[in-house]
């Protein structure tokens, strides 16, 4: 599996656009800046929705209304964030695919996605009974807290990708080398 992923990364690395992005000081850095700026939009909206569920913001306003009204802006932010994230990966595929932080980030992203789907489904199926309450029911508050925790993890591991403390050219324990997907230095 790690071999296959690394071969795919090598193929991406050899494409002209990958080299062009990484070698362009302004293009690469503006993509990264846009990736960070969209955190303000996507996670900013998400945090407000989660805080409302926990009863910490606008408790007098319908929770479902807040979730629905902020959803479009949040999704626009996430789309830009994912596009710029893919471009950042595309610019440095062989380094990133062997980063243990990147791998943890992907797992946390998957967790956040599944949690969001479950949260939305549960919120809509029970909305009528608690919508105007200052706090959402316990199972939805748990989902909101989990969402905040998972996204904090995504941001943290995303930032740590830049650090090579556990990269493959280091002397890593076998389990960590496997988890990082070490195939080449």
């Amino acid at each position: 599996m790690n071999e296959l992923l690394y071969q795919f990364a090598e193929w991406l690395y050899a494409t002209p656009w990958s080299r062009a992005i990484e070698e362009s000081f302004y293009l690469y850095n503006w993509i990264e800046t846009t990736h960070v700026l969209t955190v303000m939009l996507s996670l900013g909206m998400l945090i407000f929705i989660d805080l409302r569920m926990l009863g910490w913001v606008m408790p007098q306003v319908s929770a479902v209304k807040i979730a629905q009204r902020l959803n479009t802006a949040m999704m626009i932010g996430f789309v830009i964030m994912f596009i710029t994230g893919i471009l950042l990966f595309y610019a440095k595929p062989t380094y990133t695919i062997q980063s243990i932080w990147f791998r943890i980030k992907m797992v946390l992203l998957l967790g956040a996605f599944v949690n969001a789907l479950l949260f939305h489904k549960r919120m809509m199926s029970s909305a009528g009974s608690w919508d105007m309450e200052p706090k959402a029911p316990a199972h939805l508050r748990l989902g909101a807290a989990l969402s905040l925790g998972l996204w904090a993890g995504v941001v943290t591991t995303g930032r740590l990708i830049a650090y090579d403390w556990f990269h493959c050219y280091r002397d890593l324990p076998a389990a960590m080398a496997w988890a990082a997907g070490c195939v080449a230095d």
Binding site: F25, N29, E32, T33, V36, L37, V39, M40, L41, L43, G44, M45, L46, I47, F48, L51, V57, M58, Q60, V61, K65, I66, R69, L70, T72, A73, W151, A152, V155, T156, R159, L160, Y163, W165
Partner: protein, 161 residues
């Protein structure tokens, strides 16, 4: 133009905070950079929810006074955390920052943002919004978005300069 003398930055880097940040990379990256980014997300949410409401893009059926009041509470929390984590990060690389033009651009943008919020935006929005010219509200929202996006963008470019 630098706001503070080089001696201050030399002192900051040799301080206890500077020592912790320089010596322990993990603490610098998590308690410094990650907390800074997470706080940026909270600040971004507070600014954008409130400004998008003033622009009539979101929550049109919720009074803009309610949105502005609630968002400001979280803005203050986020701003405090951003400044605290920023001071910690800056102490570790203080001398390098003194010579970094993006750092000074961010400081000027941050000061402009804080002055704008507490001297213009907040006093204006504390009252009844129906008494304010809608174009003034929209202008305040656009200015607010521009200033805080500038703070975030110049902040990111510190690392590239």
């Amino acid at each position: 133009m630098e706001l503070l003398p080089l001696g201050f930055f030399e002192w900051a880097e040799s301080s206890f905070l500077g020592y912790i940040g320089k010596t322990y990379g993990g603490i610098y990256a998590t308690l410094g950079q990650s907390v800074h980014l997470i706080s940026l997300a909270v600040l971004g949410g507070a600014v954008l929810v409130s400004d998008f409401r003033l622009l009539g893009w979101v929550l049109r059926d919720v009074p803009s006074e309610v949105v502005a009041e609630q968002a400001h509470k979280w803005f203050k929390i986020a701003l405090f955390t951003i400044i605290a984590s920023g001071v910690f990060m800056a102490a570790a690389i203080a001398i390098k920052l003194y010579y970094n033009s993006a750092y000074w651009a961010k400081m000027y943008a941050l000061i402009a943002g804080v002055l704008f919020v507490f001297l213009v935006r907040r006093p204006l929005l504390r009252g009844d919004h129906s008494q304010i010219n809608p174009w003034v509200l929209k202008l305040v929202a656009v200015a607010s978005i521009l200033v805080w996006v500038s703070v975030a963008a110049t902040g990111r470019w510190i690392g590239f300069s």
